[in-house]
Symmetry: C2
Subunit: 542 residues, 2 copies
């Protein structure tokens, strides 16, 4: 049978039922005009993913039901598959509504509910029984749609192998509606997973993913369809909205499309700019502030912010103290000028001296130390927040994952900010992405000196970061994400003391991360809602 | 049969396997010395509750297994029921180990796994099949123990009614090991629930609860036993460790003990002081800092901190600006003097003026407004954090639940702090507890003027809080916790505009709460980990 499927990869906003409904109806109409037989939307498109505790609000569920009715009423001959919340007998399902000719033909619930990392679905949803294919009528011919939702495809840890069950029960095609966040390499995993399912079932497979930023999460789109031979039949854009069509002909065979070569730095650049742009747009802000230290982290964030928001919307501030080196100011200015963003210098020395004067009594008799170092960072945070309040702008915090892991950052100081764009990149990844961007710009938009100099917080005389980031960056990841056994870590690093020290620094700095800004997630394990660690925690290695 | 059961209500520390093991073995030995036939510990006592993502760490699971072996090896004739993590065939269970004569006789898993509010158990654990009673030998006689864990008792939302099933299968007694956090009225709910089960099963029931603070949670102890007639046979202390014995004789009948009359203010006082004390002790801190504004919130926190830590460990700072009234300083000092805590005044005007001077250019042409108000709060936060760093002390933040809901607080300003002791009390509850404390102290330890005066942040001329807290306090709770329908709220308040405004303020201030200090939970719905709301959220009432 000839079949034309529209992969409706749209960017919706959590809770925005009127806006999302409009966008869905516009997309549906456009797809139908272009001859779509089936219009497939991502998981929970109607309310956007993840709605979290909005699902506990009865009014929210009522409004979702009403919105679904409105979309259904607008449906024509095409079959629309729309991700939505479904309430039945006091239980809530993560579901796909099958719509045609003004009616809801069927509701298919999600069977496998992820409850790990950032996913909390068993907090809200009841697992649906393993689904049956939905038989639909298309131009007088019958078709059995194997409809599944996101995790139903990733079935290793579940009893119900949904894709296989749908095939066994006679599905003609598998249609997967996903809300799968970007992480390093996820794109390829999805392709391989779908190809494996095609080899097993012999069925063509259409995978539609959400696109857009939502708090920490970045949905990358990258929707695709494969024919029964596992060849790519349609390919949607990465990191932006798209409406592509997949035309299965002659027993569902098709031409092979070329897969774009995925480059991790190109992906990160696109992911992080989308994450920044959407957080600002969806929160109603246009302007970003960045404290420009002359170091690599703030320089990288500045490039990403300018790409996301436009140079005229990015304000850089250098906030030198008596410990700041001349190259710091020079590098901060050079980077800002390269980008064409706003740039200003506000020295903090007078404020710092005034603080020390006020603190004379409580500080009496003590030597310069952590309190004085943090004070400088907090003065900077306060200056930046004051300007952000005045300008109705959002402050971006520039810490990376390695610093955040080790607690090498000041709470209410450099940790101030509405969003942390690179908090899921370790320090070596920060360098790698900076070098990549300089290559793309064909000149050093990030000053070479920021890349080459020894990292320093410049909060005391002759201070340099007390870590070899080439070692600690990967070591932190091995502990947090790869979860390597301690014996392995010690063997590989040949430095037991270092492993103990890093493990302990991660543990005792949990309290800082509890109050950290939301950070864009771009690996399989980020700090933030996907990692729930106790603050009081006495689990020590030795 | 005669039966002597030790209710081992102990305070353990998350992850502290060596320390917890020692305490468990000491308690076990003491109970056995006093003739206990059965020694019942709370849920997950060995690693303490909740271990959260420590459960994803293989080393942690290994160490738990080793610790259990050590406890088992020390077991004598008494049966010990110890809450621990159990790993089997790659799955993890929240379990009770049944120990006797150096051996693990049985492992009973938790069947009903709470995954709502602060509970995430399906993130980690596999639900155990509905349990069988465990048959044990006590002095040559056989006894069938109906062992269950916490939520197994609260079975409305689950298919498996564990208590009923255990009774049906011939259990002689029900033993429930819990880690049930304190909230308003929870104590009475537990008694009523157990009595209902006794009426249904005709079995005596022993309920042992954890005690102690863990991050936001306060476990209140309040363990108890009831005989087959629902009369109280043993009663452990509230909010502190206890080892009490329940002696069932003559067909398991017993003398009735008198239940202490629970007073909500007395409970709150005990709960919050325990929460503060344990957070400090378990984090390795002794001293607390409080910004004393002269208002009721900081005064209440000061009383609780002094009760928790001792007056010599509490440092109050008044940080007046040009907008501070004379009564503020007077009230702050009076309260501090009443409590015998340290007290100092550090005016912020010079620092404030210096900030405005540095900010001259970015602030040029703008009127005094939110930025200048927040600046004062942030200067205070920075001063207090500087002193906290210098003194190796923790700052307590003094915001209440109503302010936090409405966003009437400054991020990185008055929201700075390691712990928020009263962030789960609404403003009327703050007044009620303050009045209660003044009655108990038999004089106004909290100055009457702090109670009587109109609340003000004093960040601008003639500024008073723009809320009638007698109305907004309960209204916020009705939205957050009682989840009343909007129509009901509007009908009850007769002020639709107010309902819309409050609802919207709660929504748009989520970003502040994401970076808020951990707050002691004392109601059924607190801000913090038990409430997961999106930051970008366009769900509006109208």
């Amino acid at each position: 049978m000839d079949l034309n499927i529209a992969l409706s990869q749209i960017n919706v906003i959590v809770g925005d039922l009127p806006g999302n409904t409009r966008k869905i109806m516009d997309t549906m109409a456009a797809a139908e005009r272009k001859g779509a037989d089936i219009v497939l939307f991502p998981e929970l498109t109607l309310c956007a993913y993840p709605p979290q505790d909005l699902l506990l609000d009865k009014l929210f569920l009522t409004r979702c039901r009403e919105a679904l009715q409105r979309v259904a009423a607008a449906c024509g001959e095409s079959i629309t598959l729309l991700g939505t919340v479904h309430e039945e007998a006091g239980k809530i399902y993560n579901a796909i509504a099958v719509l045609q000719r003004g009616k809801i033909l069927a509701i298919v619930g999600k069977t496998n509910l992820p409850t790990y990392d950032v996913f909390d679905e068993l907090r809200y949803f009841t697992p649906a029984a393993a689904p049956q294919p939905v038989e639909v009528d298309l131009h007088g011919k019958s078709l059995r749609l194997g409809i599944e939702i996101c995790e139903d495809l990733w079935d290793e840890r579940y009893d119900n192998k949904v894709t296989d069950l749908l095939a066994k029960q006679g599905a003609d095609i598998i249609l997967n509606a996903s809300a799968s966040p970007f992480s390093n390499g996820k794109f390829r995993e999805r392709r391989e997973r779908v190809q494996a399912k095609i080899r097993k079932t012999g069925l063509p497979f259409v995978y539609v993913n959400l696109v857009g930023g939502q708090d920490e999460l970045i949905f990358d789109g990258n929707s695709f369809a494969m024919d029964a031979d596992g060849r790519i039949a349609a390919l949607a854009a990465a990191f932006r909205e798209d409406l592509v069509f997949c035309r299965f002909r002659d027993g569902m065979r098709t031409e092979t499309l070329l897969e774009p070569a995925a480059d991790i730095n190109a992906e990160l650049r696109a992911a992080l700019t989308l994450g920044i742009r959407d957080y600002f747009k969806k929160s109603g802000f246009k302007d970003a502030l960045i404290g420009m230290s002359g170091g690599i982290d703030s320089a990288l964030v500045a490039v990403l912010a300018v790409e996301a928001l436009g140079a005229e919307h990015v304000y850089g501030y250098a906030l030198p103290s008596k410990f700041s080196s001349t190259h710091s100011l020079k590098d901060a200015e050079e980077c800002s000028r390269n980008l064409g963003m706003h740039y200003e210098v506000l020295p903090i020395s007078d404020i710092y001296e005034q603080f020390l004067d006020t603190l004379k009594k409580p500080f009496a008799g003590s030597a310069f130390g952590l309190a004085e170092e943090n004070l400088q960072a907090r003065i900077r945070g306060t200056l930046l927040m004051s300007i952000a309040n005045k300008k109705h702008a959002l402050l971006l915090t520039t810490g990376n994952k390695t610093e955040l892991a080790l607690g090498y950052c000041t709470l209410y100081g450099d940790m101030c900010g509405a969003l942390a764009p690179i908090s899921d990149l370790n320090k070596p990844e920060v360098y790698r992405l900076a070098r990549y961007l300089n290559e793309r710009y064909a000149y050093s938009v990030i000053p070479e000196n920021s890349i080459l100099k020894q990292p320093s917080a410049e909060l005391a005389e002759n201070q340099f970061d007390p870590f070899d980031y080439d070692i600690t960056g990967p070591l932190v990841d091995d502990i947090l994400y790869n979860r390597k056994e301690i014996d392995t870590l010690i063997r590989e690093s040949a430095d037991a003391e270092l492993v103990y020290r890093i493990y302990d620094l991660i543990r005792i700095n949990e309290y800082k991360r509890r109050q950290a800004a939301p950070g864009l997630k771009c690996t399989a394990k980020a700090f933030g809602p996907g990692r729930k660690m106790p603050l009081v925690n006495h689990f020590k290695l030795h």
